[in-house]
Each structure stands twice: as C-alpha cells, then as structure tokens.
Symmetry: C2
Subunit: 274 residues, 2 copies
Amino acid sequence: MERRRRVERLVALTRYLVEHPCQLVSLSSFGEELGAAKSSLSEDIALIKRMLDKEEEGWIETIAGAAGGVRYLPDLRGKAARALVESLAEELSRPARFLPGGFIYLTDIIFTPAIMEGVGKIFAGRFRPLGPEWVVTVETKGIPVALFTARALGVPAVIIRHESRVTEGPAVSINYLSGSTRRIQTMSLPRRALPAGAKVVVVDDFMRAGGTARGMHELMAEFGATVLGTGVLVATREPEKKLVPDYFSLLVLEEVKERGPELRVRPAIWLGGE
Amino acid sequence: MERRRRVERLVALTRYLVEHPCQLVSLSSFGEELGAAKSSLSEDIALIKRMLDKEEEGWIETIAGAAGGVRYLPDLRGKAARALVESLAEELSRPARFLPGGFIYLTDIIFTPAIMEGVGKIFAGRFRPLGPEWVVTVETKGIPVALFTARALGVPAVIIRHESRVTEGPAVSINYLSGSTRRIQTMSLPRRALPAGAKVVVVDDFMRAGGTARGMHELMAEFGATVLGTGVLVATREPEKKLVPDYFSLLVLEEVKERGPELRVRPAIWLGGE
C-alpha cells in the first residue's frame, strides 16, 4: 500500500472508526491498509482519542494484547445529551401531540433516525458498563429505540412479536396486560431468537404502569436470560410505582388534561442529578 | 474558541461529518467551533473529500452559496458493497435457514444493526439521486431496512401498520393479499403521517409475488404520494413477474426445495452489471 501523509492517515482512521461503531480493529490491519508503522499509528490513535474525549459523543477504546486493537464506542453525554433531551421535551409538549386517553403522538419522532440515533447513544452510554449482549423490545414502536441502542452498543436487537409465526419454529408466548390497549395481549419469541443465559437490556418507547416491560422481563426469565436494565424514552409520572423494579427514562410525561389539552414533558431527573 | 492545529481540526471535522450523516453544516459554524479561518477550513474539507473519495463508503458534498455548507452522504459501493452482499448470500444459503413454505429465516440478520446499516447505505446510494423525502415500509421486518435506509438518506421513515390505532386520528386503510401469510391483510396509515405530494421510496425485507409492495404503492396513491422506487433485501426468482412494475433487490432467492432442504441465495444481477 502507498504510504500516506499523517494528515491523510488521521482522516482515514477517524472516518473508519466512527463509521464502524464498536468494531475492534487491530493496529496491524490499519498499518497494512495505510502503509504506516505501528508506532506512527499509535501516535495517530492517541491524538484521535484525545480529540474525541473533548467532545461529548463517543470515545476511543484501546485494548492491549494480541487480540487487542482500537474501537469507537458511541455515546452522548453532558451538554450534548441535555440539548437532545430538552429539545425532545419541548417538541413533545406541543398541544398538537395530545392524544385521547393520556397518550402523546410519538410516531414521527420514533421513526426519525437522526433523533433516535442520539437516543440510542444515551441508552448505550448508560447500559454499556453492564455488558449487554442483546437489546430486547416488543414490536412496533419500541423497534427504533432497540435498533439504535443496539447499533451504539455493537450488539443485535431481538424483537418480540405479538403473534407467533408458525414458520419460525418453537416459540415461547406469554400474556400480559398492556396499558396502551387496556387489554390482555400476547407476546411471543421463537426459541432460536435468544440463547440460554443471554445478558439483555429491555427498551421501549413509552411506559405508563409498566405492564409491557414486566411482560418482557417475564418472557426473558422463560429464556433464562438476565435483564441488566430497562430503558424507556418517555415514562408517565403517574403511577409513580411501576410494575418493573427499576428503569431509566429520558423523559417524564408530567400531566395530561383531556380538557385543555395540556401536556408537559420534562427531562427525567437523572439529567440534573448526574 | 482556542485555535487548533491542522491535525486536530481534521480529526474533529471528520468525526463530526461522519457522525452526523446528511446534516449540512456551514463552514462558518465549523470556523467558530474550531477557531480557524474559512480558507483553512476549505483546505481541510478538500483533503477530507479527496480521502473519502478513495473509500467506497460515503462521500462529502459541498454546497456553495449563503445557505451552503458541507455534509457527509453515506453509501456503500464497489467492492465494499459486493463484499457485504456476497457474505449475506453465503449466510442466507445455510440449510439451517430453511423455513417451511419457501421462506428463509431472516430475523436475526434483519435486526443486526451492523449489517442493516450497510444494506441501508446501498439502498441510499441507489435512491439518493431520485430525491426521496420519506422511506416507507410496513411493519414489522421491513422496519430495520426502512430505518437504516432513512438514516443514510437523512430523511424520516414512515411505518404502515396492520391495524389502525384509534389514538392516532383519521387513517387510510387498504386490503391486500400477502404472499407470506397467504391471506387478506389490512394496511393502515394515519393521515398525519405523510403530507400530500410526498416523494417516497418503498422498501421491505422480502418479496415473492409483490403483493405487499403493491399494497404499499396503492396506499401511497391514496396519500397523493409519488413512489420513486422500490427496494427489497431478498426477492424470490419465481414468479419472475412481480406485481410492482420495477424494483431493486440486493439478493435473489433462487430455489427452495422442501425436501432437501436446499436454499440458494445469490447477489442480484445488478452487482455484476453496474
């Protein structure tokens, strides 16, 4: 490979690392690609690491040893996280988002990748230290939260369906009470979707009482999986006690008056406390 | 802002652009952030552009004028695209993926972001010149294809549901014959989900006869939307004539023998021809 100038190497390295989140790359494979000595590459990586530490989106991890290398771990923290969550709180408080029954219209937000990628990075930063191997949700609106959290963690997502598909082999199904439909629903996951003993985090777009989240916890127990954490985009303030013991939410839906209508969505308390 | 050395500026610029696909940033806002003159930044951008043109993943677009700036447009082309599609063809041809009824088990692939991000980039490269404003699919397995295509195009996704939600206001519903369930199904989209006259592309994970895709085309016609293109991850070879006039597929499912079982998935012809 042609030898490249340092400025060129830095651009190529930064691009590759940011473009391939969580992928561990050995310095020697970069060296071959860029025609550079390992010592030069180590200096380059140190500079990139230093620069990214100043930002509040993602950082560089270097792992020593024969199986080691370097990778980019996306997250979103500090002011950058606060700015995203505050802009979401403002947008979600608009009266036009009021839906009958104490809900808010989230669909357009949920399916806008530029927003959900940031949400996924915040969740990833929170859950990464726990070492999750899978991100689990139930169809449909939880899917973008799960996919972008999984992207930032570098793991696959597992999507629980409402019906079992005969074509996907043996499945485990459970019934649960969904707050949003106010009826008994079924959630189902094929046996092949998750190995025994998997470490998972559970995410969803919205939580009121937590019935759906509890259903996911119960289903995970049937798979012998360990639930390391639960994250939701928006949780209602009432009821304060949810059906899952512990969860992490980005936004709190403070009150919904059907006559009004008035919504108030605020950043969840953790943004102040941490 | 403190003035930064050129190497530092290049790392900061590359990181920001790649991390925020399709977002147009003015040179003056970069200049404030990095404490650099516009002329230095122009040189930096020119270098980044040159470097990225050598790769086969994404490129830098500069737009002149007062409302102009610079942005990173993800795609995947040439050898990089071929490598992804060929590895998918090999993985999907494994006998363990055989499902009764002439289907293949795609779920794990579909919900692995590191794979679907590449798929989305290939679709984005194909559809970007047409100027789509939305990426449309129907729940559930089309969602990752839609989200990662939308991410790479810098537009939102719109997800058609099987049931209309009373909470989301007036909706348009149509019936269609789904090849995968072999029964009449309903697809439904709230009026507020898409403005009249929208330019969309339609994507899905799997196409046999094209009934679902045709349903999406019909629903788009009800919204006064223009369908600029149709993309699927895997299309079956038979029937050769699909119910939609024109489509783009990454993979072709060549044959499925129920006794065997034998699957053969190959890259679609366009990879050779283009």
